[in-house]
């Protein structure tokens, strides 16, 4: 039985140390991250809610089991995002489900960034254009969608993305740049969007 703890005012690192002494403290970390991580997996995948719940459950178990391995040199949030990310990818590969980038009407930033500096002069508030963009982003390679999700939907900086995906920062920058390039190439070929 999980006993509700006084979680306020404690940093993630403090809660990790406390969880190693008393496992009930881990509840604080779970409640602190559950909402965010559910949204993250939802943004990343077409998985139904019960599968997302499974991903999170497995990820929390793994997180707890590997608490002694947590490297305080990186943010706890990056570390747990990494575990959840890997669990989500593993399930996607097992179920051969599709990896999506869920952009809604509020996420103009990603559309602006992708179209920035190009000849694409569409009104990004145009609904049809945004639908088109969403479809094209959906067809981008997995590694591009991962970095786009973390950068624009999760507001992670390059170091955090590097720690989550376990790729050098230079590679993260290159992937974002290639995502933009691939998107533009896809846009130019797609007559429906023009």
């Amino acid at each position: 039985m999980i006993v509700k703890k006084d979680c306020e005012g404690k940093t993630d690192e403090e809660l990790v140390a406390l969880s190693l002494v008393d496992s009930s403290n881990f509840y604080c970390l779970m409640t602190r991250y559950e909402g965010r991580l559910t949204a993250y997996v939802h943004n990343l995948t077409y998985l139904p809610d019960e599968d997302i719940a499974d991903v999170l459950q497995n990820a929390f178990i793994k997180t707890y089991q590997h608490l002694n391995e947590y490297d305080s040199g990186l943010k706890f949030s990056s570390w747990i995002y990494r575990i959840v990310h890997n669990e989500a990818i593993n399930l996607l590969k097992k179920t051969r489900a599709k990896f999506k980038l869920a952009i809604d009407d509020q996420d103009e930033e990603i559309v602006e960034w992708l179209t920035d500096g190009s000849d694409i002069e569409k009104d990004i508030a145009d609904r049809n254009f945004k639908e088109c963009v969403k479809k094209m982003i959906d067809n981008l390679r997995l590694e591009y969608k991962e970095v786009l999700t973390l950068r624009f939907l999760e507001d992670k900086d390059y170091q955090e993305i590097s720690d989550i995906l376990q790729k050098p920062m230079g590679t993260v920058a290159t992937l974002l740049s290639r995502a933009k390039k691939q998107f533009k190439e896809a846009y130019e070929k797609n007559k429906e969007c023009q």
């Binding site: 089991q65 590997h66 002694n68 391995e69 490297d71 590097s162 376990q166 790729k167 920062m169 590679t171």
Partner: protein
Amino acid sequence: MIKPIPKWELGLKNGVLWTGVVATILTGGIAVAVVLYMIESNDWDLYYFPYFWVVILLILTIGTLIGYRKTKRGYRIELAKLIVIIVGFSGLAGVAFAKTGMGEKIDSMMAKDIPAYRQLAPMKYQMWMRPEEGYLTGEIQKNENNQLQIRDLEGKTWKIQLDETTNVRGRVELVEGELIKIEGEKTKSNEFEAKDIRPWSNRFGN
């Protein structure tokens, strides 16, 4: 009941990983030392390029890369930089090992114990194992009455005849176990007349 993996277990895994990384770098250093020895022994003539050891170095570099990538922060360094760092460390280790003579020792040991080695890492061996043309190399088994018995690099036993005109170079002692190279003439299927005897190693330029 779910429990955190104990620190000692994680420490052990980490220790094994890092030991592997260091070991592959140092082994790469040995490969570099042998390459340096072979190139130097051939008077920097790259006709007998040491492909075998370069391939070994490549395999070890890949092994080090894979091992390092599995460490906690192993993902942070770009691949190209990492390769340069690994090869750099192996190179430094190789130069240090070469100064101790390790390259020569490894090469000689491999030549003695592994028959196929010389086909993979040909060297002056190819120059000095042509008895029909008057070049022979072997280990002295006996030295009696101006006659040596040697076992050549292919395991064949020869009788080597010496006389007053035979030039025995300075460092050669003609003792059992000594590895020498002989210039002369093959007189019978397993007999050789020596005109010039040198140490197998040409480190001092004899």
